[in-house]
């Protein structure tokens, strides 16, 4: 649904997006992560045909950027960083205005459908300016969905929302995924990205890493088994002589063992430890959070080292 080759955007001498290569499939939830000023919003603006790239090319919803921009805008929905609603107009008038700018069949019915879906129907005639932050965000998401876009660009959809409203938004993303919509999600909420996204891209002016969050973590850190020992068992890490063990570290009463395939190798590891006289209390896998991965990549550290 989204394909870019060397997509670049410069603002004078400053490079905001540098040679972005990306391929997002239909029905995929793609998380686009990066710090403030990384070029995420510029990327969304380019992909939504709002600003032109200064280099490279892209195809969005089957249309080439720069050649069919209006068609692209018809097929994508954009939730901007701020809800951007007409405060003096009612919720219904806000949505009706946008529905009529798109080729939406029966705009009134479509607006009613989304107002009901987001539980705003009872307040449809109240000005959007009187709404809470969460309600404004829901209204803005409804606006981005009104024309049933094939691709939805969401820029920080849960920023500033209370946990209940944020969950509503996350549930909505899950629901849209089940309807085969492609979602391009910009977020600073790494836990949200980890839970929702099929793949993530870590981006700072250029793409630093892209892939399935679990696979990315494995690729960066490998898989590690933590063996909790009941007694100190001094020198046991040196005695571990199994060929599949990549690295052993000791941390107090724990052994952190880097393995290639823990599902297959863990039984042999535990057997060997028991043979060596270790009192194994319990074993678990060391979980690396997406936050660790994000911070390591953003700070340019080589996690493997």
């Amino acid at each position: 649904m989204i394909e870019t080759q060397g997509l670049t955007r410069r603002f004078g001498p400053r490079v905001a997006v540098d040679g972005l290569d990306l391929d997002v499939a239909r029905g995929e939830v793609f998380g686009f992560l990066g710090p403030n000023g990384a070029g995420k919003t510029t990327t969304i603006r380019m992909l939504a045909a709002l600003i032109a790239p200064t280099g490279g090319s892209a195809t969005v919803a089957g249309h080439r950027l720069g050649e069919a921009n209006r068609e692209i805008r018809r097929r994508v929905g954009v939730l901007t960083e701020t809800p951007g609603l007409y405060r003096r107009l009612s919720a219904r008038d806000n949505l009706l205005f946008f529905a009529r700018l798109y080729p939406v069949q029966e705009p009134e019915r479509q607006v009613e459908r989304y107002l009901r879906m987001f539980e705003l129907w009872d307040r449809k005639d109240e000005p959007a300016g009187s709404f809470s932050k969460g309600m404004r965000q829901k209204l803005a998401i409804a606006r981005a969905l009104l024309h049933e876009p094939e691709i939805l660009f969401l820029d920080e959809p849960t920023a500033g929302l209370d946990p209940e409203a944020a969950k509503t938004v996350r549930d909505l993303i899950e629901m849209l995924r089940s309807k085969d919509r492609t979602i391009f999600l910009c977020t600073h909420n790494l836990d949200e990205a980890d839970r929702l996204c099929d793949r993530i891209g870590l981006f700072r002016t250029r793409m630093l890493a892209v892939g399935d969050p679990v696979a990315l973590k494995e690729e960066m850190y490998g898989r590690r088994t933590v063996v909790h020992l009941a007694s100190p068992s001094p020198g046991i890490e040196q005695a571990l002589d199994l060929p599949f063990i990549k690295k052993v570290e000791r941390l107090d009463d724990r052994l952190i063992v880097s393995l290639g395939d823990p599902d297959r190798e863990n039984p042999a590891l535990i057997r060997r430890l028991v043979e060596l006289g270790a009192d194994v209390r319990f074993v678990n896998e060391l979980r690396v959070s997406l936050e660790d991965l994000y911070l390591d990549l953003m700070e340019g550290r080589d996690a493997k080292a």
Partner: protein
């Protein structure tokens, strides 16, 4: 055309909910009509027939100023309001074209300005007839009518063009309002010329003013259209 109509209706619906805009569009013309009729009544009281004609002519000049003042409020709040509410990006993300957006914003200010001006002029004539018994037709000459009906759309267009240019750079409505005020200058030029000639306003003068205004409008609108491009709006507007 459909999107243009949708945008126009949205602009007017929003304007009607803005007290500052409603004040500028409705109360100011009513106030000027009231002042004008009062002045004519005073002239009539003097007993000299030329006095009421002079007063009538002076009042007619207001209808060359109104089309430059009325659209200021609408255009300023229309553009600065979009910036203030952060609605420009969602709007630009729709399939609306740059030209439709520009025309929608411009016509949303020009149409009410011209219509309200003409309505105010009609109200002024009716009120004059009621207060002093008759409209001094010898003062209501063809050049005056040509000025009010022919020049006012051009004056409104110029005013809107200037306001759009200024508003694209301003982040608050009051600053935009102040800087846009010089858009009323073209309205002051015929006012000064006419007041020096009193009833001798002739058609050639009106045509010359019209020609100058067309050139000014073309220049201002050309610049405004250049500013009203999607990319410019998103990356350059403050």
């Amino acid at each position: 055309m459909r999107r243009l109509r949708v945008l126009l209706l949205k602009e007017w619906r929003e304007s009607l909910r803005n007290k500052m805009v409603v004040f500028g569009v409705v109360l100011l013309p009513l106030f000027l009509v009231g002042i004008s009729v009062y002045m004519i009544a005073l002239g009539e009281g003097v007993g000299d027939p030329t006095a009421s004609i002079v007063m009538f002519n002076t009042s007619l000049m207001y209808f060359l100023l109104l089309p430059t003042i009325i659209p200021l409020a609408i255009a300023v709040y229309s553009i600065v309001g979009e910036k203030d509410q952060a609605t420009l990006e969602p709007l630009l993300a729709t399939p609306i074209s740059d030209l439709e957006l520009f025309l929608g914003k411009a016509l949303a200010s020009v149409i009410p300005a011209v219509v309200v001006n003409w309505l105010a002029f009609g109200l002024f004539l009716a009120a004059t007839r009621i207060v002093v018994g008759a409209v001094p037709l010898q003062a209501l000459t063809a050049p005056w009518l040509a000025s009010i009906f022919g020049l006012s759309p051009l004056l409104a267009l110029f005013s809107v063009g200037v306001t759009m240019l200024v508003s694209s750079r301003a982040s608050d409505a009051r600053a935009a309002y102040q800087f846009s005020s010089f858009a009323i200058l073209p309205g002051l030029v015929p006012l000064i010329v006419y007041s020096s000639q009193q009833t001798l306003v002739d058609l050639r003068l009106v045509v010359a003013e019209g020609a100058v205004l067309i050139v000014l409008c073309a220049v201002v609108l050309y610049l405004a259209i250049r500013v009203f491009r999607r990319e410019q709006i998103l990356t350059r507007w403050k």
